[in-house]
């Protein structure tokens, strides 16, 4: 069976050939199985976000191969990539990335709208996702009326509303206090136990330690790929 994710000698190079050339990803190869919980760690500027953007089909690598479920991503059209982002992947960002002009419910509904799901069913699914993150009853609020932790939970609800196979989180706790951050983390672990593949990006080693597998990046290269023996 094909790996869920397989990248082979992937490069992301900015201003290639110029003096200001930056190798955000410098020949990275990596395989991720279905159901894994992978933490990608490294210092600021080491290429973590770039890695997630490539894995999440938000960015196109300069060179190298990327297979998702055995499909060569290079061959996919913009429409097909949009569909993958919509159905297969849920994104969680450090800055929540909610649309401020929409209500909580509308934000969570958005990916379902792009799936073409009919309004009634869509609302039901969005409410269910909000319940799962403990935000039932806040549907009509606007993001600004909520705390950072609550906003991040809305973002998580949006990411899981479509029941994606993969959840990618880029510093999801970065803007939160440690207590709220722990809540978010344990929610991601719970998701993973139910079968979702989680890719967590962080520069915080103590957070990374909660993951079964840690991939460490430095200057765009993988310098460590370690899977823990014991379960947590």
């Amino acid at each position: 069976m094909a790996k869920l994710i397989k990248i082979d000698s992937v490069y992301k190079i900015y201003s290639e050939g110029l003096e200001s050339e930056v190798r955000a990803l410098d020949g990275v190869s990596l395989e991720i199985d279905k159901g894994e919980f992978v933490a990608i760690v490294g210092q600021s500027g080491s290429g973590k976000s770039t890695m997630m953007n490539v894995l999440g089909c938000l960015d196109i690598p300069t060179r190298g191969d990327f297979y998702l479920n055995g499909v060569d991503v290079k061959t996919l059209s913009d429409k097909e990539l949009s569909r993958i982002r919509n159905k297969e992947i849920g994104f969680i960002f450090q800055q929540y990335n909610l649309i401020q002009s929409l209500t909580v419910l509308e934000n969570v509904e958005l990916p379902l709208i792009y799936q073409g799901i009919e309004a009634g069913e869509r609302k039901r699914m969005a409410k269910e996702a909000l319940e799962r993150v403990g935000l039932a009853g806040r549907e009509k609020h606007k993001p600004v009326q909520m705390s950072g932790g609550q906003q991040q939970r809305v973002a998580i609800a949006r990411a899981i509303a479509t029941k994606p196979n993969i959840v990618m989180a880029d510093e999801p706790t970065g803007a939160l206090d440690s207590h709220t951050g722990k809540d978010i983390l344990s929610f991601l672990q719970q998701l993973n136990r139910l079968g979702t593949t989680v890719i967590l990006i962080t520069h915080d080693n103590s957070i990374a330690d909660t993951a079964k597998r840690i991939v460490r990046l430095q200057d765009g290269k993988i310098i460590e790929d370690r899977t823990k023996e014991v379960d947590w």
């Binding site: 429409k79 994104f91 960002f93 792009y114």
Partner: protein
Amino acid sequence: MLTVLSIFIGIAAVMTIVSVMEGMKAKTAEMYSAMGSNRITVSIYSWMYDEQGNSMNTKDYYPELSSFCSSIPDKVIGVTPNGYCNATVVYGTKSSANMEYQYDDNWNYISGPPQLYYGSEQYAMCNNLKLVKGRDLAVLDLEKYNNVCVLGSEAYTAFFGKLDPIGKEMQFNGTNYEVIGVYAPRSEDGSNKSMDNFILIPYTAKRTLGGEINNFVVKAKDSKTLKEAISLIGGFLKGAVNTATGGYDVYSENTWQQQENETLNMIGLILGGIAAISLLVGGIGIMNIMLVTVTERTKEIGIRRAIGATKGSIIAQFLVEAGMLCGMGGIIGIAIGYVASIILGHLILQMSILPPVWVTLLTFTLSVVLGLLFGSYPAAQAAKLQPVEALRAE
């Protein structure tokens, strides 16, 4: 805001222009159809004047013209002199000398002194007149120089109110004329009342009452025979009129009306051009607003792309927004256009014009299409953004 302003000014202008133009066309059409269609005007004139400045065109062309017309009955169904005199009309205590023109607040004609028209027994046929009382002019009245007259409906009420006028004697410049009939009003809604304020007398009365008869009206059978009739009559006049001392003209009122409509269309086109420029300015403004919006909302575009929006749905979103923006401007513009049409209709045409439904629909569609047109470039810009790049925006 300024942009939406120019959109709705443009839309209001288009709306008003088209409505007023349509109103004017309707008004001229109504006037011509009241007189009847397929009319040919023949004018015969002289270049010679006597010492008092009066035309020396004293020859009576009617008998010749009339008999020529009866020789082509498959093309022409009526002919009459079309002249007038300035005699004073008196009946009992009422005199045209004491009648003044009166208008209402909108300058609609209310009343005035009657016109005295010279005509033949075919005058009614050529001018779409129907008799409601008594009898019409007869050939004998012309031949015998009978002092008789037929009243237009307005002239009838002005002098007789509701009384029976048949057999009564009126005085034209002091000479007695017997009223033999009354015509029905031609204007349906009363907006062209002045055209029924006349008294018809046999043209042969010119001998005693004076005035001029330079024009004749010929009624063609239908619009198909109109052209042939014009060229036949032209040929006849070539031989009949002494071109050394005068000349003649033959033209159809259909072409006249057409020309008037063409002039109106021309004016409409020019005004429409100005409105179009205003719409163009508005459209470019909309494009600018949308471009700014796209820049301001780059992050949102990135978020939407990340959670699965295709390029197509981003384009659709911004097109809908631009369309709604312009559509809203359009609705305000249409409202203003309505008011402006009504006001201008009263000021210029002395009539109430409501913009036709098709004009309303057309201008609304125009404004939405404008939005789509000028929104498409910003929408394409929005869709062009790479998801990562858009997400990076603040």
